[in-house]
């Protein structure tokens, strides 16, 4: 209960967003351009496949000011990047290790079990492959 309260407090003050449903080919530059529309970006950290160390479809965007992150949540969340609807969420803050996918194969968990074919995310889910 204590940690949940701490977690919520961190989220309320956070300037960092988790960004999901990126294409594996989306670059840091593209993310910087899009998310820069809501304010000055402090850092972009690309999510990586733990094994291959290549982009695996998510990232963290940290702003200098929380207000800029709020505007990203309002106006960039749910719009397209590389033709894909991306999703943003408040993040408690980047810590070393969190840049890696936690799926068994090294990518994100969602890419382990999904049944559909997604050309931008390595084709079929890992279990299907």
């Amino acid at each position: 209960q204590g940690t949940r309260y701490d977690q919520e407090r961190l989220l309320r003050k956070s300037c960092t967003l988790y960004v999901g449903n990126l294409s594996f080919y989306t670059t840091e530059e593209q993310i910087h351009e899009l998310f820069g529309k809501s304010g000055d970006i402090k850092k972009v950290i690309m999510g990586l496949d733990k094994v291959k160390k290549t982009a695996c479809g998510f990232c963290f965007v940290e702003y200098y000011a929380r207000a800029d992150a709020e505007n990203a949540m309002r106006y960039i969340n749910g719009t397209r990047l590389d033709d894909r609807i991306i999703r943003t969420d408040w993040d408690a803050g980047f810590k070393e290790g969190r840049q890696y996918g936690r799926g068994r194969s090294g990518g994100q968990v969602r890419d382990e079990y999904r049944q559909d074919y997604d050309a931008g995310r390595g084709g079929y889910g890992k279990t299907v492959q």
């Binding site: 840091e28 899009l34 529309k37 972009v44 106006y75 960039i76 397209r80 033709d83």
Partner: protein, 789 residues
Amino acid sequence: AGQPHKRRRTSEPSEIEERLESLICRVGEKSNSSLESNLEGLAGVLEADLPNYKSKILRILCTVARLLPEKLTVYTTLVGLLNARNYNFGGEFVEAMIRQLKECLKVNMYNEAVHLVRFLSDLVNCHVIAAPSMVAMFENFVGVTQEEDVPQVRCDWYMFAFLSSLPWVGKELYEKKDAEMDRLLSQTESYLKRRQKIHVPMLQVWTADKPHPQEEVSGFYYLDCLWSQIQKLKKDRWQERHILRPYLAFDSILCEALQHNLPPFTPPPHTEDSVYPMPRVIFRMFDYTDDPEGPVMPGSHSVERFVIEENLHCIIKSHWKERKTCAAQLLSYPGNNKIPLNYHIVEVIFAELFQLPSPPHIEVMYTTLLIELCKLQPGSLPQVLAQATEMLYMRLDTMNTTCVDRFINWFSHHLSNFQFRWSWEDWSDCLTQDLEKPKPKFVREVLEKCMRLSYHQRIIDIVPASFSVLSPANPMCIYKYGDESNRSLPGYTVALCLTIAIKNKASNEEIFSILKDVPNPNQDDDDDEGFTFNPLKIEVFVQTLLHLAAKSFSHSFSALAKFHEVFKTLAESDEGKLHVLRVVYEVWKNHPQMIAVLVDKMIRTQIVDCAAVANWIFSSELAHDFTRFYIWEILHSTIRKMNKHVLKIHKELEETKARLARQHKRRDSDDDDDDDDRSSDREDGPLEEQIERLQEKVESAQSEQKNLFLVIFQRFIMLLTEHLVRCETGGIDVFTPWYKSCIERLQQIFLQHHQIIQQYMVTLENLLFTAELDHHILAVFQQFCALQA
């Protein structure tokens, strides 16, 4: 499931208050019953709750009057019904509104104040306020124009508050007090004739000698436009048919009600802290010819046009934080089948997006709002938007440069959400024009921005082959020491050494020792210190490092961080800073986005300072790129960083002062306690020292900020004067595309940072913008002075 009858008996007061708030806020929204029956029902509920919840109800009603102006007449009707049932309540409400109005004016909340004034005036229609007392209030408003030594923007606001209420209440006031109203209107006319309009050109979206005949009022000062609409309204005997007036259905009840007199209202006097709304200019794109199949758009001089636009602006103001709600609310604006609503919405959104000096809300909001609207009306809105885009493209030649920037940002971001689908061939006319002309320039900048949101090959694929001349360069880095064929270049071998060393994780010291061998082309022998400005050292190091780190932004940032010490040393002098920036440009001139993020990082890590960036932008090396959008993004970003820095230190100073004050208070309140005294004395020392240090920091930051603006203005003056002299002696026309761009960029500096620049007026007047200056340049300064005069 437990004890239902117990629940009924013990409703918490706070629950009831929440219910009341919800009932009041929701009245007027889509419902199965008619608005009239909902209002009647709600009036009954509120009347019953008055004994216990009067102050809460008063507060909610005052708040919706202030914050939900698009539902003005719904709430005035509600107040009218309550007043008819409870005269005292009506009186208390009016008093509360007057108090709220005075508060708003005191704290410079002028937009809310207008809504309150309009609400009060509509209460005349609901028989809550007596017409003569409203006229008396307006007489005091118009009387402000007779005040001496006050800013014109103050008089403008009071005039606006009066005129903009007339669509609602003009008829009633004129019927009761026609002589007084005639007098007020003629005072209005003479005020508008004598007020100065020097600043208006600075705020216009399109600079044109003659306005387009279809959009006669576009570019008009907002007051002049409103005045012509009121004049037409008067000619039409105050017949106004667009505003929804629910109180008409209750006429028999309301005319039985007793009215209240407004207390005499004296406008709060002008003070040094008063900040009035910036002057505005009307933006129009569409007229009755633009939607031939649908309902007719109200003419530009009609008061209906004014009311629709006001209401749509109010809806955006109420819901801008929630784009889906905002879109839905805009599309459910009443009168949908009588007016071409999609056209009005698109026009109002672009009016805000292009507003000078700044849009009311963050630019990206408008982009996503338009996308939401397209989602909700996929069969009609995209076509209107395409039509609007086409019209804006057609008028690029006279569009203000700042507005073109916003058009570029909007269009490229919009396209990236729709797979970059556009009929580029329709714009083939721009291919035959000089690349510096506004239309091809616009297309180039749009394609560059589209590339930033995707990738180079994508852009090649989406445009016809004929457009390749406008396509952006492949954003590759240019490394001068890359090829063996360059081995004769001075510094080539050192570059090779550096490359190997850096790849082998060399330290800053090792880098320094390698660089020691680089000769200084500026002098015959190196200093012993070796730290004088050596452009070759800078070139070799920066070229090599940036090339090695070219893979991504993160790689480059890591490189800057790892070798920060080397950078700081090489860029210690002003010339060093400038040269670092030059080399960055040489390496990355095909990738403007990279240049921008590197400059940003170098400022934040204090490798270069803001003044160096400003000087670099105006340097001859960058002349070729001077009119490109990315250059101005860099300059304005630099200025913003400087401004934020000053604010941050100032805040620190204020906070530390507050801490000291609190400490003194604590000490003074227990002065019998010796121990506390001694320990706080010990604490005081450091705090007071801190304050002194922070004070110095603030002064130094403010001085750096002022210097930055002076450098920028100085360089503009030099550049523009050069051009003007050259044109004069050569007998060529001054007004080239470059000149238009440059002079509007100067205007943009004034407008975007007007609050800060106001502090420097004396210096600017005496030092830079003196009478000897060419009148073209001086005019920009004079327009700026007129803005808040």
